[in-house]
Symmetry: C2
């Protein structure tokens, strides 16, 4: 049974706070194991990678091959249906177009003191992409990670993915072919992240590592933050749907279940101002769950983490929605714009009744790698900026240093840094 | 003695690689201590903060006071010279103007498929600023951290700073007053970072934590990455100066020493195409060091980490410079623009002979919180973007979902996610 709340409940405030504060992420303490793996790969390089792959993925890289060959990725793309190929290509084209608008502008100008000031953006040289094996190996995620790097202008993209027993998801390979990935290593886990960060004889080091993974992969990225750049820590997926009684309960139920079916830790929350609609959605969810091939996961997630919250009106709902800072937020009402104006914290917002979140997962264009677990309070979806960095620059004339140099000398002296002061003062003579 | 290299040395390649790979950061393993502190503060709140402060900073917060009062910050500003106050105000005004140009643009538009797509930026609600005690307590750093947050529109800024034996740097308080900081807590170390991230009865939690600190502070931020946003891991400071023989060796020496005097782990490297100039700079450094009140630190840093590299020409130098990905890069030549065009990796670049790095530390405008230890390969200086986040949004019409919905259904089915497919397919009927 999902949580059923009403803002008229006597204990609503505390029940809602408990919902906001609930941590759905398992506290697996893998940090020591990961530290050991990183150290072993840093010291042992490819030999350590081969050892771990034999142990965890049960194949010998020197037999099965270290890299996926171009022939394999081409064959994977040739092997899928025209419908799927067209869908992947439409997705890739639309994601590319959306992300091209994220490319930052350089700046350069001279101010009234005669100081030239600016900023110049460059792509990182190399990006590493982690692609999980098993349930979470999604071709759509591959596109969402690679395309921003390509649009940024990253010259080298190295993908790593575990191939348990040597097997690999052909749809992921097809997506890799469409995305133009030419370097794919059959390694996974913390050891693959270590190889990307430190480099081995075979795998050259990269500058940024993105992509989802299990607790070991996430912890490896966290420990290597600073050695390389990483994307935000990813947690369980979530959706908040704000819907009035004029929606079709079946549509709303499907939207909620599209998160629930991801993982038992996923969370789906409905806010509505219509108690009868709330009941209708709850009934529709119960009808739909048994029809899903993902019913076991959806059932577990909905019962453990689902919630239906009846509000007096949406003005009451929106501050609550903002506290949840959801990864995905649907505003299925007549005037979504007025509600959206009240949203400060959300990963991505889906406006109106005809905008199910799942279009954003695949083909709309914005990135589906979004902040989870209330992290939309401080972080953004993956973007071109994650694969670029900014160099500021300045240039002074004798007049300009005459104008602003004395203040620098005064501050340097006050901070007890005489060489700082001297480097400016010598030029003021 | 600093390292003396020439690109004509037989072993130059390996000697330079060793220089690039040298890690100047101490491998202090404080992670277990920090984990324990975070846990204690999370569980014990203010009582734990008071305990750690008594133990590490030797004062009783319940006697000395938890917060710096507005009267104290006002008195600090009143107590400094007019010259210093003017310098701080000039710095604050110029930093504000530069950072205002970093404010990102929202986007919103309808594409050819009829899909409305956009992105909207918001500031985080609250930012925490760590200000170290002791040697590294710089009023300039306070301005560089606070002003981007203010420009971003952050409503609440909470500063924490250790006050060993209850004492606090009045210049830092004066800068806090100029920057308009109204919330200053007398706590430091990992315990202060934990309080900002988790919140206590007294200190409300924040969304982003920035500011320099010792190994404990840095490790606390790393462990809390994901609970809050943090700035890049900071390491020892460094400068690379590219200078021809037409420079005044005294100026160049002062520029090199302006990094060396920061910390024994700082690094200063000169590239020049003129061996006689190299010798003259080396001699000038030796003359200047004894004149500095920071001579012990400058001596230690220059001897351990300084380097003078003689190149045949600057085309040979620039790829080497790029490998170093320096925090600060001075191009002290007649035509700095042509060299700058070859730079891909640097925190901030100082163009021409009249642009000493120290003006950038104080009054030029760009941020002086910059990527260190080769991290300019993948990260940028602190900016307004570190205190903001982007919410993507989309809206479909019936026509638009008809155009792109079927591809989403195909991909969802291929990924084995039937509720995803249903949420779109129901709307296509």
């Amino acid at each position: 049974m999902p949580l059923n709340l009403s803002t008229t409940d006597a204990d609503f405030a505390s029940a809602f706070t408990a919902l906001v504060d609930a941590r759905r992420e398992a506290d697996e303490d893998v940090s020591r194991d990961v530290t050991a793996i990183l150290k072993a790969v840093r010291a042992g390089g490819d030999a350590a990678l081969a050892d771990y792959t034999q142990r965890f993925d049960r194949h010998d890289l020197n037999v099965s091959g270290w890299a996926v060959t171009p022939a394999e990725t081409r064959a994977a793309l040739d092997g899928i249906s025209t419908e799927l190929r067209d869908a992947l290509e439409l997705a890739a084209a639309r994601i590319t177009t959306y992300h091209e608008k994220q490319k930052p502008q350089d700046s350069d100008g001279v101010d009234s003191a005669g100081v030239r000031l600016g900023a110049r953006w460059n792509a990182v040289d190399a990006a590493g992409l982690y692609v999980p094996g098993g349930r979470a190996a999604y071709p759509s995620s591959l596109l969402m990670n690679v395309i921003p790097a390509k649009v940024a202008g990253v010259q080298r993209i190295a993908m790593v993915t575990p191939t348990p027993n040597g097997e690999i998801n052909p749809l992921v390979l097809a997506a890799a072919q469409i995305a133009g990935i030419e370097e794919i290593w059959r390694v996974g886990g913390a050891q693959a992240v270590a190889a990307l960060a430190y480099g081995t004889d075979r795998i050259k080091p990269v500058d940024v590592i993105t992509g989802p993974g299990n607790a070991w992969v996430a912890e490896a990225k966290r420990q290597l933050y600073g050695v390389v750049g990483i994307d935000m820590v990813a947690g369980p997926s979530e959706i908040v749907v704000v819907a009035d009684g004029k929606n079709d309960p079946e549509w709303t139920a499907a939207d909620l279940l599209s998160q629930s079916e991801h993982d038992p830790t996923s969370q789906s929350i409905l806010f509505t101002d219509d108690a009868a609609f709330a009941d209708a959605v709850a009934a529709a969810v119960e009808r739909q769950i048994p029809t899903l091939s993902t019913s076991a996961v959806a059932r577990a997630s909905w019962d453990a983490n689902g919630a239906i919250i009846v509000v007096r009106d949406f003005d009451e709902a929106m501050p609550l929605v903002d506290r949840l800072a959801a990864e995905h937020l649907e505003l299925a009402v007549d005037d979504p714009e007025s509600l959206f104006a009240q949203v400060r914290h959300a990963g991505s917002v889906f406006l109106g009744r005809m905008t199910p979140e799942a279009v954003g997962d695949y083909v709309a264009g914005p990135n589906h790698v979004l902040p989870t677990g209330r992290r939309a309070r401080f972080s953004s979806g993956l973007s071109v900026l994650d694969f670029m960095k900014r160099t500021s620059f300045l240039s002074l004339t004798p007049v300009a240093i005459g104008a602003i140099g004395p203040a620098a000398v005064a501050l340097a002296q006050a901070e007890g840094l005489p060489a700082h002061a001297a480097s400016v003062a010598l030029r003021l003579k």
